[in-house]
Structures are given as structure tokens and as C-alpha cells.
Symmetry: C2
Subunit: 421 residues, 2 copies
């Protein structure tokens, strides 16, 4: 439909109000400091600032660093922070304590996890990953394959079971994400993990777009290895520490590429030869970025008492309502929804295809609606259940409709073209 | 001498006052927020809090993250921060812009630098390093050697030239630090670099104990690769980002183990295959820990207008005066100074050997004098020229004398023994 009648908007507004009024998670928005009049649908790229962070970080800087100085490694227990924050993350991804470490970047953790996987399956030469995986995942796969003489095979998630039927015995590790970072399509994490392990390979999951958005069950699914970042749905701050999960059964043989003094069994003996710590402590590498790590720790308190199933129910509702608004208010010949309409088959984001994606996202931002775009032509909107409302979803689509109606994105594009010449 | 006469202390106090009065760097202490009545001689482990940090970090958190949100990658130029902060670090280590990147931990940077070195010298099988090197340097050497089929040879710095005479043609890279982290002994960085390169090997220097303390001249010495941390003399905060220097001549062939999406030539094209950025940009890895990185950037402003030669002159004076105080006030049969007495042969720290090192350091801390110990028996004191005074040096040694005289360290030891049983 190209003509949008005011009644349609009114009906959607009433529905949004009703859904928000019935939303048990609505009060959680007060746990975040969002700018006034801002509809923030980019929490899948950088999560909003949790209200607990500023005071916590001020304490870390002024008292812990400034006053307690070096003693803080003990008195404020900086030393255990990577494992302590790891356990706090573990609660959100179905990992029992002692199976998750926080620190470094996803790229670094991926490199170590893939290396460890290759070493756990030394007689298998294939490293299988998703051609649509996030770039860093693919680069890490290439690097580790090069170092270990492995062969990378790019297999879409839906084709993985058939691939494993044929080549499974040669596969060391399968590296996938449960949510496609562009389209939001959800893959069958349980089924794929089972298929991978049925052929004796290891399942490595990148949870960047799942942690804090979906009820991940690493222990229950028997996942071998997982990584993820702290700055998307977990709102740990820009470039927040990543995390690594290692199944308990693999910990004693976890043998990564990068070994640092923090992973040593007796780090302060300052021994020249590396003896890994027992348990998950061996997954530590160098000195952790304490300010970023303790910011993430404070940020995670926003999830205190929050049921991840309720988070999931709400983002299914938010994304579904957003798609309904798109159907009602936007011209389907202009905007193609590339995210699955079945709520069980999508994560917490919706992507729309439009040739002017870049200009549209910029025009939206000028009007206080923040999404992002992924080249070449996707508008991407993320829905964090802890601070996004159905009203926000409607406002975003209404604003998008107005931008198109006013031709604002075309002026935006011309402005850019002019600036570039 | 076992008995200390009050006049000796009086003479030392007068000398401290005179040295401090003539110290051109004395006003820099106001650039740091130190607790009252604290003598902080552990800035070689965790630098004190720079006064510029709290406000800068609050702006990063509240305005850049909280309000500008995802747009800060552009509007607050988070995207260029690793190279921008790298250049700011470069000014302190004799590196022209475009040769230094800030980010990740020293362990991670070491791993990448050693891998890149091995790949630059593919026909050479020896990786040579110092048996007294910091543990993480040794673990990284072992890891990289294992991955590349190299052999690690442990050769003390003073024996390196002779070793190179004999085996030089087989050496890919020599990995050393200019300052022994335990004893403070200074190695001849210029001479060793020349000796290493004379046989066609690469010189990799770990500057953790040099950056911010010594006038390092990476470009002038023609050093191939260097790494270092941001949290010691640079006072970038606990676990502050590390840095990596790559000589301009090696940048186009810099080929590290860990490649992340931030090092890609066109990261936002989100390509599946890795094409490294031109220049130092390729030494980026994953998404940087922005809060820690911008804290380091603010911390480095404490060095604005500071001449590193003046920093060096002052810490030679501080360490020399400290050793004089030790000679005058402590019993040489109890305390052995293991740091070279020649000021040209030591860095910015002094280490004393004593069997009760642990208890002594704890007793000192209770009296407001913060140093640290390195197992099994070294008391270690670091002198940051930007905030330590000669008076501090004297106070430390006087307090140490008093602790010994009162037997406080023996009570401390007994308390620990009792607590442990």
C-alpha cells in the first residue's frame, strides 16, 4: 500500500500503547541512560549506557586506581575480575560458573578458540564456517587454517547437515553464529550443534548477536566452545571485553595460540616456562583492561533478576510489531523486509533492503531515530528488550515513512554527492 | 654500618630538599592525583592516576557513549583512536606518526610481532630471547616457535653479540627488553640492535619498562619491531592498552597471526576475505576497548611539553639518591642492592635483595610507602620522574630502616604464618 491513512497510524499507536502497558520488562528502561527524544535501535551494535556505569566507573578510577593504586589487584580483587565477570556473563548464556572468561576482543578470543579446536582434533583437516559470518570470524578462520595447515570450507548454515553427512569425518571444527548479523535470521543452534558433534567435530559458536538477546543454553546444548562481545545487547561500552566459553570437558586440554602470564598456574612465581592454570583460569592471556572490564561488570547488573525467556518474548513482540508497522506504513515495492517473518526464525533485529539505505539511515538519525546500515543496501534495526518499547518501533517506522514522503533521503544523498565532488 | 646517626638523616634531608628545589620537573606532580601522605614507588607496575583522566573519562562515558551513542565512532573519532593514541605514544618512544598502534595487551602484540618477524625471515629457524625476560615474552616466544617450527634459544643480553657471531645467520628475530624488570639493569639497546641487524636478523624490543622513563629512539636506532604496555610509566590505568611499533620499511609486509576486521583496508565493506589496510592501520585487530584507550590518551597529556631527556636525568638522580640513602641508612649485610650503581647502566628502578622482601614490602605499605616485590626475595622501587621526589626516596628508605629497627616485618611474617595455619 502506498497511501497511508491516518487511521492506520492511530490503530498502530493504540496497539503499541497496549503492548507497552502489558510489558513486564518496561520498568527496566530506567536502568539505562538514554537521551531524551531518542529512539535507539542500534543496541545490536553499541548498547546504551547502563545507569549503574558512571558511578561504578568513577569508583574504579578515583578510589580503586587513584587511591588504592597497585593494592587494588588484591583489595578490590582486580585479579579475579576476568573470571568473576566471566561467571556473570555465563549466567546469561547458560554457562555454569568456571566456564567463561571475560577479556580481550572477539577477534583474539576467536583466534584462541579456533586454535584450541584444531589442536583438539589434530587428525582432521577441515575448518568449516559460514560464508555469511561476520568478517572477523572469517579472517580468524583463514589465519588459524594457514597456521595449522587446515582447509577452510564455507558452508551456509542450512547446508551444514548435508555437508557433514558427506565430509564430517574430516571436519575439526564448525564455527557459526546463531544470528545472521545482517538479516537477523536465526539458525538452529541445538540442531547444528548436535549434527556437528555427531560426526566427532567441535561446535564453536559466536554469540555476539545472541548474548543478552536470546536464552542461550551452552551447557545444556553441550556446546564445545563459544565467544562473543560485551558491547552489543550486553551494553558493556564501546569495545567492551569479549568472552570465551570452554566446555568443562575440554578445559584440561584447552591449548590456545596465545598464552600470557595471567593464564599461568602460578603467575607471580614469574617462571620462564608456561604451566597453564587449572580450569578456566588458563584461558586468561595478558593483563586485562581493568577499566573496560569493570565497566562491563557494572553494565551486567542491568540484567539482575531478568529472565532471558522474557527478554526473548519481548524482542519477538517488538520485531513482529515493527514488521507490522513496516507492512502498514511503508511501500513494499520500495522496502523489502529480509528478516524472517516467523518469530522463531529471527533474532532481535530487523533488516530492510532499500537502495538508499545509507541516506535513509542518516535522515532518520537527524530525526532522532538511530539504526545503522550494512553495505550495500540494508537498513538494520536492533531491539534491546531492556530499553526499547513498541512505541519506539512505531516512531521509527513513522519517521521512515515521513523521510520518504518528504524526499529527505534524496536530498541527503545529493548533499553527499555534492560534498564528494 | 648498622647504627644510623640522626645527623646522616639530616644531611640526606637537606640534600633531598636541595635536589627537589632545583628539579625542573617538580611542578609535574600536580598533573597526577596521588593520595596524601603516600610515597608511591610502584609506578613501574601501575602508574598513578593522571589528573586529566577523571573528567576526560566522564566525557567519554556520559556524552560520547551515553548521548552520542553509535555515532561517536565518527563524530568523536573513536574509529581513529588506535592510530591517534599510537602516534601520541610514538612521540615518547622516538617513532614518527604512522608507526605505532595502541590496543590489546602486550601479550597479544608480542604474539603478532613475533609471528610477523618469523614470516619476514622464513628461512631462519632461531628465535632468540633473554632468559630473564618477563614471563609473557617467553611464553609468546614458545608459542610462536611452536606454531612456526622455530627453535627458541635463551641468551642473556650480554652474551648476545657472541651468540650472534656464531649463529647469527640462523637467527630470525631477537626479542629483548632494554630494562631488566627485576634488577633494573639497562641493556645497550643501540649496540644490540646493531649487532642483531648486522647478521640479518630482526630486533624486537619490549618497552614496558622503558616507555615514559627513558628517551627511546626507535626510528633513529632503526629498530624493526617494538611492543610495550600503557600502564607503567605512562600511567594509562590498570591494564591500559599496549602498543606495537612497526618500522616503516616492514609495514607493507607486516603479516601477523591475528587479523581482525579493524585492520581491513575497507572494514565496512564487510568482505569475507582479508585485505590489510595500507600502513600501520593493518596492525589493528578487533574492536578496540575504547574506554581504556581514551583513558590512556588522556593520561598521555601529562607528558605534554615534557622532554624525555629531562625525565631520564631526573630518574637517574632519584635512583642514585635512593641508593645513597640505602648505603647511609640500611645495613649492607641485610640489604643487597642488585641494581647497577652506574646510572648509565640502570633504568628508573632500584631492587634490593632481602630474605624478608614480602613482609618488608607489606610493612612499608602499612606506613604509606608503596613498592612491590618480585619472588623470591627482591624489594622493587620504581621512580616516575613526573611525580616522585627525592624527599619521597628518602622517606622510603627511612621507613624501611624504621621497619627493620622495630622488627615490624618479622611480626608481619608471623601474622601471615599464623593466618596460613
Amino acid at each position: 500500500m502506498t497511501v497511508t491513512s491516518p487511521p492506520a497510524t492511530g490503530i498502530l499507536a493504540a496497539r503499541a500503547a497496549s503492548l507497552d502497558a502489558a510489558d513486564p520488562l518496561a520498568p527496566l528502561r530506567s536502568r539505562y541512560l538514554l537521551p531524551e527524544d531518542c529512539v535507539y535501535l542500534d543496541g545490536n551494535s553499541l548498547g546504551a549506557l547502563p545507569a549503574a556505569v558512571p558511578a561504578a566507573l568513577q569508583d574504579v578510577v578515583q578510589r580503586q586506581w587513584g587511591t588504592d593504586l597497585i593494592r587494588s589487584w588484591n583489595t578490590n580483587d582486580w585479579w579475579q575480575a576476568p573470571l568473576r565477570v566471566g561467571d556473570a556473563l555465563g549466567r546469561l548464556i547458560g554457562a555454569a560458573p568456571g566456564r567463561t572468561v571475560a577479556g580481550d576482543s572477539t577477534s583474539v578470543q576467536l583466534h584462541n578458540a579456533l586454535t584450541a579446536a584444531a589442536r583438539l582434533r589434530p587428525d582432521r583437516r577441515l575448518l568449516v564456517t559460514d560464508p555469511a559470518h561476520f568478517p572477523t570470524d572469517l579472517y580468524a578462520a583463514d589465519s588459524v587454517a594457514r597456521l595449522h595447515g587446515l582447509e577452510v570450507r564455507l558452508v551456509p548454515a542450512r547446508a551444514l547437515p548435508a555437508f557433514l553427512d558427506e565430509h564430517g569425518e574430516r571436519v575439526a571444527v564448525c564455527s557459526y553464529g546463531p544470528v545472521d548479523y545482517r538479516t537477523g535470521e536465526l539458525h538452529d543452534m541445538a540442531g547444528l550443534t548436535q549434527a556437528v558433534q555427531a560426526v566427532g567435530a567441535l561446535a564453536l559458536w559466536d554469540l555476539c548477536h545472541a548474548a543478552g538477546a536470546l536464552p542461550v543454553a551452552l551447557d545444556d546444548l553441550g556446546v564445545d566452545l563459544a565467544v562473543g562481545c560485551g558491547y552489543k545487547y550486553l551494553s558493556g561500552g564501546p569495545g567492551a571485553p569479549a568472552f570465551l566459553y570452554v566446555a568443562e570437558r575440554h578445559q584440561s586440554s584447552y591449548d590456545p595460540a596465545l598464552t600470557g602470564w595471567n593464564g599461568h598456574a602460578r603467575p607471580f612465581d614469574m617462571r620462564g616456562s608456561y604451566t597453564p592454570a587449572d580450569g578456566m583460569g588458563r584461558a586468561r592471556i595478558g593483563t586485562p583492561a581493568v577499566l573496560s572490564l569493570l565497566t562491563l561488570e557494572a553494565a551486567l547488573t542491568a540484567f539482575d533478576g531478568v529472565d532471558m525467556h522474557a527478554v526473548r518474548t519481548k524482542n519477538q513482540s517488538l520485531t513482529g510489531f515493527f514488521i507490522d508497522c513496516v507492512d502498514a506504513l511503508l511501500d513494499e515495492r520500495e522496502f523489502e523486509c529480509v528478516t524472517p517473518r516467523d518469530p522463531e526464525r529471527r533474532g532481535a533485529q530487523v533488516a530492510l533492503r532499500h537502495d538508499d539505505a545509507h541516506s535513509l539511515i542518516e535522515a532518520l538519525a537527524e530525526r532522532g531515530v538511530i539504526g545503522d546500515m550494512r553495505a550495500p543496501n540494508l537498513l538494520r534495526f536492533g531491539f534491546n528488550s531492556l530499553y526499547v518499547s513498541h512505541r519506539d518501533a512505531l516512531t521509527a517506522v513513522r519517521t521512515l515513512r515521513d523521510v520518504v514522503a518528504q524526499g529527505a533521503h534524496r536530498r541527503e544523498r545529493m548533499r553527499h554527492t555534492a560534498a564528494a565532488t
